[in-house]
Structures are given as structure tokens and as C-alpha cells.
Subunit: 264 residues, 2 copies
């Protein structure tokens, strides 16, 4: 996406193959190793955000779908959690029309989650003094917004909503959150990184404090799972689709399963 | 496919990333570079043919489909060329039943080729004194057999059928050709390599002579295209589906197009 020039692309591929050989080792976490490779390639191509158009398209289509769903469906917190997970299922930037996407989501709404610990999450949300919401990709963040609105209605907790400091792949940045009005729902906080997920030893001091002081941490998508699943911490709830074989294996679920699962 | 051991797999992935970084350069041909990487991994895993089961399954399903088609359809050389290309479309080892595969092929038989130079190929086959047929993958080789039978019926040429010396991915080896009765149709010849396609500076002397002396060379699939498309040689006809973006771009056709095209 950074260039149409085939030779420049080829040079980028050769660089990428060397970066992968360097980053890929025994203990590598794909979200972190992958992000380092992307950042190097951004520099090589002289582009700060090659996914800009992709994200714009995702956001535009997701917005239409979310507006339609909100007008059509009665949304409570249970439904909102499911919608947030369904937002993780869909790649909004691919060829489907908003109408088709909306139909897909309505169909999936009727199906059960493979691991469904929504009751526990709702119970914890009601008790919490501070909640941290870790977003994933642009487009689905508008589905996260539905859930955060319901959390706000359900709980008196202080709500923090985290985004990345700088663009990395199609992840939600602090700028995206501000632009889409998340400050009306809670405090927007930067993780301080340009890395997919939450690499705890690289986050900002500010984020670290919010993280430590939260009673419930809602972690969307595979990147957050990859970086947080080995910390056994019961405050964390993972909302995601198990898209890749390794994540499905870790969760002991079939690939493609939809999950609301407490960590630990 | 070489092992179920996750740690062994991880070590193999780390090795693969280093092999890719070494093999991937400005002038690399994916078929050749890829084959070298596979051969190193075969050694690492201590397996001479990790695709053995995959190939067995492909062969078994393709055999059922071919037997049904031969009983149902009147086959002339035009249809046989198309069937050989359609054999290249299908991954026989994936989940579909032979019945579903047969239905798919019958549907595709009615559709035109994106580049259709069958008339020219048939004309050249009729005139030829020697014809060389370069096979591609196991499974589709039974579709090639239908075409070779028609060539034998149409032409008085000496027919050579080439396979790989040793197993590489799911390519047809000399052993596969002998096992499936190709010696009744022509002379089976080894390319002398364990490399996808026909890397002209690595082939055996015997193969080189057959190649030089043939009037028509029929090259199935992308691997043969990758290794022979830059030699401008009008004796070569490519039969393939343009599966990857780079091959489609070179051929100036949409990805997924079915092709019968003279080289040069």
C-alpha cells in the first residue's frame, strides 16, 4: 500500500525477508516482532501511515453499519459485548457493501459464543471503580464504542479507553479515538507505543499507572491476547475471534471461534 | 506436514525465515528459490517427502474425477487441452468430494479461456516430429494424461513426458509417471532436478537434449511458467491458471484467468 512502484516493492520485500529472519526467534511474540518489521518498512518506504486509506474505508463502512444496527436493534450490555466481538470478525475494507455486512452481523448475533463469560464480565463491570478498554482495529472501534456506551450506562466506574501513540498497521490511535468522540465516554489514554497489542515493558508510565489501577481490563482482538495472555491476571477479559491457528490452539477452541473469556 | 511436534515446527520456521532471507534477492525466481528452501527443510525434518500423503489423496480423488469425466464426456483434443488446464485449477487434496469436484469441472468446461491459443497448439502438434510435455502437480497429472492420449491420437510425433527426479512439494516425479502408466503413451524422462519448474542451467544432459530437439513444448502450471517465460521460445505453450498476482501481471490477465498461450 505504500507504493505502486514494483521495483521499490521488490526492494521492500527483500528488506522484509531480512527483518523477519532477525526478528523471528524462539520467544518472539508475533504482534511485537511484526510491528517492529512494519515500522522499519514504513521508514524504508518513507510513509508514516501506509494503511491510511484502508482505515478510512473501514471506518466509513463500519459507521454506516453501526448507525443502522443502532436504529434497528435494542441494545443492552450483553448484546453490546457480542457486537464488540462481531466487530472483530469483519474486515470492513474488503469488497462487501455495508448492507451485506449488516446482514452478516445480524445473522451472527443469533449464534452462541464458543466461550461465553459475559455474565462474569458484566458482574465485574458493575463492581469496578476503574475500567480500562484496550481497542484493536479501526472500523471495529465503532463497535467498541457501543459497548463502552453500555458500560457507562451500567457502571459508575472511571472509564479509560486506550489507543496507540502512532499508526501501526490498522490499529486505533489516540487520534482516531479523539476524532470519533470517545472523550465523551471516558478518558482517552495513549499506550505510548507504535506496537500491536500491549507490550507491558514498553508502555508509557502514564499508561502503566492506568493499567495497574484498573479493576477490569477489556482486551479486544488477537494482538492484545498475544501480548497479555501469558500474564495470568484475572482482571483481563479477552473479546475476540480466534483467527489464527496458534491463538485457537492456546485458547483450546476451534479456529474461527468467538470468545468472551476471563484471563487466568 | 513433516511433524506434529510444535517445538520442532517452531525451529523449522526459524530456519525457514533465515533461508528465505538468504534466497530472496533481486533476481530470485520463486520456483527455484522456494525449492531450495523446501529441500533444506526436508533435510532439517529428516523427511524425504513430507507431501506424500497429500499427493496420495490428490491422486486418489483426481482418479475418480477423471474416470467419471471420461465415461460422461466426449473428449476431443480441444476439450482435452481445456481439461488439462482445469486440472491445474483444482487443489484435489482439500475438503471437496470427487462428486463436487467433477461438478465444478463440468461447469468450468462451458466457460471460455481468457487467452485461448488452442488452435495454434493443435496445428503445431499435428506438424511436430517431437513433443515434450512438462507436468506439474500430482492429481492434475491424470488430466494431463487425457491430453497426452489425445495428442498421441492426433499426431505421429515422438512424445516425451517429463517429471522431477526427486519429490519436491507436490510435483510429479518420474516414479509417479511410471506408476500411472505414462510409458504406454510416450517416453518418460527425468528433468534431473528436485526443483519446481525447469531451471535450464540445472537440468540433466539427457533432458537438455530432449528439450532442444522438441518441436512443441507443453508447459503446465506456474512453476514451468516462472522458469521458462523469460526464454523467448515459440515452441513453448503454457497451460495454466494465473494463480498469483505476479504471474497474472506478467501475462497481463486478471488473476485467476485460465490460459493456453504460446510463448514469445
Amino acid at each position: 500500500m505504500a507504493t505502486e512502484d514494483l521495483n521499490f516493492r521488490k526492494q521492500g520485500m527483500i528488506l522484509a525477508s531480512k527483518l523477519i529472519a532477525n526478528e523471528y526467534h524462539e520467544k518472539a511474540i508475533p504482534a511485537i516482532a511484526g510491528s517492529r518489521i512494519f515500522v522499519e518498512l514504513y521508514k524504508f518506504f518513507g510513509s508514516e501511515d501506509p494503511f491510511k486509506k484502508y482505515k478510512e474505508l473501514s471506518r466509513k463502512k463500519a459507521k454506516i453499519v453501526v448507525d443502522t444496527l443502532k436504529a434497528k436493534i435494542k441494545i443492552d450490555i450483553e448484546t453490546a459485548i457480542k457486537l464488540a466481538i462481531l466487530g472483530n470478525v469483519i474486515d470492513f475494507a474488503v469488497g462487501f457493501s455495508p448492507e451485506d455486512l449488516e446482514k452478516q452481523i445480524e445473522e451472527m448475533l443469533d449464534k452462541p459464543l464458543y466461550i461465553d463469560e459475559r455474565d462474569e464480565l458484566i458482574k465485574e463491570v458493575r463492581k469496578a471503580k476503574q475500567i480500562l478498554y484496550l481497542t484493536d482495529n479501526v472500523g471495529e472501534h465503532l463497535f467498541d464504542k457501543i459497548l463502552i456506551e453500555e458500560i457507562k450506562r451500567t457502571s459508575n466506574a472511571e472509564i479509560y479507553i486506550a489507543g496507540k501513540e502512532k499508526p501501526i498497521i490498522n490499529d486505533v490511535t489516540v487520534e482516531d479515538l479523539i476524532r470519533d468522540g470517545f472523550e465523551a465516554l471516558g478518558k482517552v489514554v495513549s499506550i505510548g507505543t507504535q506496537i500491536v497489542g500491549v507490550p507491558l515493558n514498553e508502555v508509557s508510565q502514564e499508561f502503566r499507572e492506568v493499567y495497574e489501577n484498573s479493576d477490569v481490563i477489556i482486551a479486544k482482538g488477537q494482538g492484545n491476547f498475544e501480548t497479555l495472555s501469558e500474564v495470568k491476571d484475572e482482571r483481563i477479559f479477552f473479546l475476540l475471534k480466534a483467527k489464527c491457528p496458534a491463538v485457537a490452539r492456546e485458547l483450546k477452541v476451534p479456529r474461527g471461534s468467538l470468545i468472551c473469556k476471563r484471563n487466568g
